[in-house]
């Protein structure tokens, strides 16, 4: 075997060495540094230049060296050899490049981003600072985020979005509303959070750092605040493929085999596009209870489970020895949010009711003096007692006239037991323009209409309030309808958040889920493509799988048994697929 080939193979087999070698030059091309012996005059220096070519650059007095700019076509190695042999030259060497080690960004929330760097459990992270020594800029790689829309004005995302030209001036498409503005118009923060994990601007002194400090993110809104459908999700995947995405992040899941979405994923595969998908949050075995798209089985899908801060499998994370590929950080992940929500009931203290039967009260259900709920003001019903005055409604006026409000949504949790026989119900509604949303003559827009009983388990609701956008007055209300002969029937709203997407928001939020883990892997995939532009999706998946860190929590629960690792994936070198090479 030829020595050169042997050296090449050794480089390929030793990840660390291979990384340095594959990155190309470790010195500045076209110039060297020369230290002349003392007493070597300018004439002798000029004579050397005339003989060897090039010209003298600045003399760096503090180092006693002179920079020599080489003539075109002269390699640094040749020049070092030639200059070292010249009389009057004490030493010649390349102008080596030094890079910072364990690069850390100055973003204020970086210290909380344990998935990137985990000071509490060292090593239980994706080793981002080490990877950032090599790659921070993934902006050559288009990553599509098929999700709930993105607040693309978020301070840390403004410069990291896809330029869709005049056809797509808002960096993507909204398949829920059917227009070209994928803003999170219902205030849902999921897509913005996911996008931030992938590519929040890094080292800019603002909010968080993404896995990639510079990214090119395409926003594809396929989920409303309470979910999306095959038609929106499959269209988004096809859009991403036809507009050049190399990575599609799908932090979403469904429980049904879906041929139309499968066809879209197959189309992505045919076009060499990588799909990174969430394993799901049911704490279930995906091998026996599949989550799609993870379980379609296409070889361009990476299916991701979630890890907690000590790299255990998160309690909610799905797993699967045959269907889930890797794990990644998923629990208590800090990332970007479209805007700060309006929370709690304090602002409802002066709200309107028709008969004074509903009210905002100290939470007598639990003897706590801090929690406010909406209920029968006596508070006895939710403590297991009865109510005689629940046939009423309450509403509160929120104004959203400010043009800086780009999206509005509602999340609340309610307890109710309604009267049977078609008499009783629990309602939520809003009215753009203000007034009573339950006015029988001129009602508002109904959000939820519920019958039955939640028992003692509060039920969560999510609703789109984008109809309130640009409205100086918009009322939100809750209603219980019962007869006085039904004292055991009533309701309470025990938690409430009005979600908002705000222009130039710099909000952040902590979220958990396999969605977050998926985004980490998409970021790593973008890094790999940026570092190795010739890689195909198989190369990226192999690097992620085999370059991951073995994690006992994932052994037997995933195909690879490994946690995705940015540095490990970068260092895992193999010859790219689809490129022919020969050794002469």
């Amino acid at each position: 075997m030829k020595p050169a080939l042997l050296v090449f193979l050794v480089l390929c087999l030793v990840p660390g060495l291979a990384l340095a070698g594959s990155h190309g030059r470790d010195y500045v091309p076209g110039r060297i540094l020369v230290r002349f012996r003392s007493g070597t005059g300018a004439a002798m220096q000029q004579q050397a230049v005339q003989t060897l070519g090039g010209h003298l650059g600045p003399h760096i007095a503090a180092l006693h060296v002179t920079r020599v700019n080489l003539p075109a076509g002269t390699s640094v190695a040749q020049a070092v050899k030639a200059w070292s042999a010249r009389p009057g030259v004490a030493h010649a060497q390349p102008d080596f490049i030094y890079r910072p080690l364990d690069t850390t960004p100055n973003d204020p929330d970086f210290g909380q981003q344990w998935g990137l760097h985990n000071p509490r459990y060292p090593g239980d992270d994706i080793h981002a600072p080490q990877a950032w020594d090599h790659v921070t800029d993934c902006s050559d790689v288009l990553v599509a985020v098929v999700d709930s829309g993105i607040n693309y004005t978020q301070a840390d995302l403004q410069g990291e979005m896809w330029n869709g030209g005049s056809s797509y001036p808002h960096h993507g498409y909204d398949f829920v509303a059917g227009d070209n503005d994928p803003q999170a118009s219902d205030g849902a923060g999921h897509g913005t959070h996911v996008a931030g994990i992938i590519g929040a601007a890094g080292n800019n002194g603002t909010d968080t750092a993404g896995v990639c400090w510079h990214a090119r993110i395409m926003a594809l809104r396929a989920l409303g605040i309470s979910g999306g459908t095959t038609s929106t999700v499959a269209q988004a995947v096809n859009f991403a493929v036809s507009h050049g995405a190399r990575v599609i992040n799908m932090s979403l899941g469904g429980s049904q085999y879906d041929q139309v979405l499968k066809d879209a994923i197959d189309n992505a595969r045919s076009n060499g596009v990588l799909v990174v998908a969430a394993a799901g949050n049911d704490g279930a075995d995906d091998d026996s209870s599949p989550t799609y798209p993870c379980a379609f089985g296409d070889d361009n899908i990476v299916c991701v489970a979630a890890l907690d801060q000590s790299y255990g499998l998160a309690s909610y994370s799905n797993y699967g020895a045959k269907t889930v590929d890797v794990g990644a950080p998923g629990s208590t992940i800090v990332s970007l949010w479209p805007g700060s929500p309006l929370t709690g009931f304090q602002s409802w203290l002066s709200s309107s009711t028709s008969q004074g039967n509903w009210g905002v009260i100290a939470n007598s259900c639990t003897s706590s003096s801090q929690t406010y709920i909406l209920a029968d003001p006596s508070g006895t019903w939710c403590a297991g007692g009865t109510s005689t005055s629940s046939n009423d409604y309450i509403y509160h006026d929120y104004g959203f006239a400010s043009p800086s409000v780009l999206g509005i949504g509602l999340q609340y949790e309610a307890l109710y037991t309604t009267e049977g026989g078609g008499t009783g119900y629990f309602n939520a509604a809003y009215k753009a323009g203000g007034g009573n949303p339950f006015d029988p003559i001129n009602p508002g827009t109904q959000l939820d209409h519920e019958t039955g009983s939640t028992g003692n388990t509060a039920r969560a609701f999510s609703d789109d309030l984008s109809g309130c956008l640009n409205q100086s007055s918009c009322t939100l209300g809750f209603q219980m309808h019962t007869s006085s002969a039904a004292p055991s029937h009533s309701g309470a709203v025990v938690a409430l958040e009005v979600l908002r997407s705000i222009q130039d928001s710099n909000a952040t939020q902590t979220e958990s889920g396999t969605s977050m883990a998926t985004a980490f892997v998409s970021g790593i995939a973008a890094m790999l493509y940026a570092y190795n532009p010739h890689f195909g999706y198989r190369d990226v998946i192999t690097a992620i799988d085999r370059g991951g860190v073995a994690d006992p929590a994932l052994a037997g629960n995933t195909v690879s048994g490994r946690a995705a690792d940015a540095m490990g994936a970068l260092a895992y070198i193999q010859a790219p697929t689809g490129i022919k090479a020969s050794v002469h």
Partner: protein, 254 residues
Amino acid sequence: MRSRQSSILVLVALALLAGCAARAAGPSGAPAARDRVPGRYLVTAAPEAGPAAIRKAFRPWGVERVEDLGTHTWLVRIRHDPGPAAVAHGVRGIAGIRAVQPDYIYRATGSPARTIRTVPQSVRVLATASQCGGGNAPSASWIGSSQGLRTVWRRIHGTRRPPPVIDFRNDGVVLVSMGRRPTGGYRLALAGGFLPVNKGSATLRVNWITPSPGHVRARVISRPCLLLRVPRGGYREIRVVDRHGRVRATVRPH
């Protein structure tokens, strides 16, 4: 009897027909109602098939709208939805229709499903104080006996007042400590009287209140705490979470 047998035969035949439509229902069988959008179906059509052919195929169920999604896929909205199996059976064999399936629902996987169980009178504040002793860092500790409660109570209140009576068979006591603070003005407050439990982990919401900037504060080291009665059972650990969702401390009952 014969009539009953005929009915059974019809049911079996319908079931078999539904089985023939497996391409529509998918490998996992008939979808649950919560997994699809009622009245919406996706049709994979032959390239030459247009909206007229699709309208005709779905006419029995009252077509509201037909939408071209590209790649020979059409979204059809119908008024009267007989269910996926019946639709698949109804359009089977019609020229130009290659496959039909429900418009399935997908959900974001960023917020694990919560199970918030509310137990009346679940969490009760027993005491709040600014000088509770203890360590420098935030912590939570479990008190599972009258003796343990007496010890902590004396540390907070001295011997002026007797400790509350707790039924330690059904309840426990959690001491949440803020740790050492440089001045007065710090305190802890219960933010939610419910104790939601999700997969064995209970969440106790406590507001971590710090002094307002600019306010004059007592220049005294404080160690604020909150003593809470909580119900036992249904969880392995209690996570003390502030209003930003940050886990400040974790305690396991014993």
